[in-house]
Amino acid sequence: MFAIRAAFIPLLDASLLIAARDLGMAAEQGIDLQLMRETSWANVRDRMAVGHVDVAHMLAPMPIAANLGLTPFSTALIAPMALGLGGNAITVSLALHEALGAPGNPDDAARAGALLHAEIGRRAASGKPLLRFGVVHPHSSHNLELRYWLAACGIAPDRDVEIVILPPSFMPDALAQGDLDGYCVGEPWNTEAEMRGVGRILTTKQAIWANSPEKVLGMSSRWAGENPDAVAGLLTALYRAARWCGDPANGEALAEMLAAPEGLGLDVGLLRQSLAGPARFVSFERAATFPWQSHALWFYSQMVRWGQVAHSADHARMARQTYRPDLYRAAILAAGGVVPSANAKVEGALSGPGQVGASGGALTLGPDGFFDRRTFDPDRLDDYIAAQSVPA
């Protein structure tokens, strides 16, 4: 058995790692998958940097930020796999939900945003303080998508609201205590607020950017280079775990597995509800674990937009090469899986499900668009970045 140590944060999309360990997919590949639960993304980064862990459940923009030198103790990281699509939402306090009028269906991000824009105008006119939103990390899809959504709805994220960082599990309490008016966080912390009656899901990641990743499997490029067979075995195990997690027939078993103390250690009722709720994550369908370089580049474009990094051809190349579809393709094809033929796609080209070029079988993707109907063509990155603006 080859030991692989993996750090994870107790969130729903750690499912793939937990299932691969508990259901034997890792062992089948000769891998002894040792999971270490962590309390902060900073700890995950530090343990990776000193070699306490080999791989980790990471926020999708995190390895990109590390390679761009934006985080302390940056080690060269790669992401050869995504750990699912969707999986987070924007939840607001009951008071804000009520003030918005009738936000309606969480799938309608445009309507929710328009109502929020109007409410922010009313608050400003009556001299009320800025609304405060929580996200889990500056280099998270939560932060970048919340900002994208706000800006597209005419709200300037750094002027019209306040965005603060808070650990995921603290969000519902902060909402209940009035420390936050809303947050963007991974499941189960949106469902938790709804079940406790302290918040309502306003809209979802799926509605803002359909079928986009929230977490990836991160590892140091050095470790991956030294252990190519272990990487391929781990990707195979996680791919099979993803298929199991994505089968609706396994929903109850998955909830129970995650509830165990050596899983996420959370209430089974909460997990059951989250797995079926509006912010549920997609683990397998639509090539959910494929590390699209267009996803990496879109995150990069938003990091540039919000001043986290300056745009240059070198930086763009580093961001693109952080995601490694080549490693994924080699491992998953050898394991009999189905893989897209391309490494990148135009985000927003598919307005509904559609067949795409694939190896190993037929593959249906999409929709993959943004709620404001803008498309992102990774081959025209400079134009996209130049056209980005912040609401005046």
Binding site: T39, N43, D46, V50, H52, F73, V136, P138, I165, L166
Partner: protein, 201 residues
């Protein structure tokens, strides 16, 4: 930079450990030490204190918030660099192993940083050692209680005296190559499953 005037914040959810670190800092000549154990309002407290050194426990879930605040937030005016630069991998490993992280303002004297870190690492390690010892003492007490209850059960159901009941337990454990406490546990478990035959306190 005068040691006595440097503001240091110790952020730890464990007040006992925070107190040990605080005492260590005072011994090193730092007098402006602030222990922050409350999660709520942490950002505001730090913004007001503007500490030159922050010592934080690695298990603290607010590390991401703190780092973001130190890097970009408008609230803190002074640039704060994280200690343990890349060249000093060993001390970084030692710190992470011990479960402590530190953040330091740019320009804070390296030798002072080093001695603060060494103190924090050794006290964090000493604290975990104490915790482990306490835990094993608790486990030993619990084990003794289990064995005592099993002994009483045997004495009652088999009519044996205490010494004979204990040797029976020990002999069974040796035969099965198990610990005495494990045999005692399974005995109590089967008694409770069979019902009615449990120990009568």
């Amino acid at each position: 930079m005068n040691a006595a005037r440097s503001t240091i914040a110790v952020i730890d959810t464990n007040p006992a450990r925070a107190a040990i670190i605080e005492e260590g800092l005072r011994k090193e000549g730092y007098h402006d030490v602030h222990v922050l154990t409350e999660m709520r309002g942490l950002a505001a407290r730090i913004a007001v204190l503007e500490p030159e050194v922050i010592i934080m426990d690695l298990g603290h879930p607010n590390r991401d918030m703190l780092e973001d605040m130190l890097q970009v937030a408008r609230a803190v005016k002074k640039p704060i660099a994280m200690f343990v630069d890349k060249s000093d991998r060993q001390s970084m490993e030692a710190a992470i192993e011990a479960g402590v992280s530190a953040y330091v303002v740019d320009g804070f004297r390296q030798d002072r940083v080093r001695s603060i870190m060494e103190m924090a690492i050794s006290r964090f390690n000493a604290f975990s050692r104490l915790e482990r010892e306490l835990q094993s003492a608790k486990d030993a007490l619990a084990d003794r209680d289990t064995v005592d209850r099993a002994k009483r059960l045997i004495m009652k159901s088999r009519g044996l005296d205490e010494g004979a009941a204990y040797s029976l337990l020990r002999k069974t454990a040796m035969n099965q190559n198990r610990k005495i406490v494990e045999v005692a546990e399974s005995l109590l478990l089967s008694a409770s499953l069979l019902g009615g035959q449990g120990e009568d306190e």
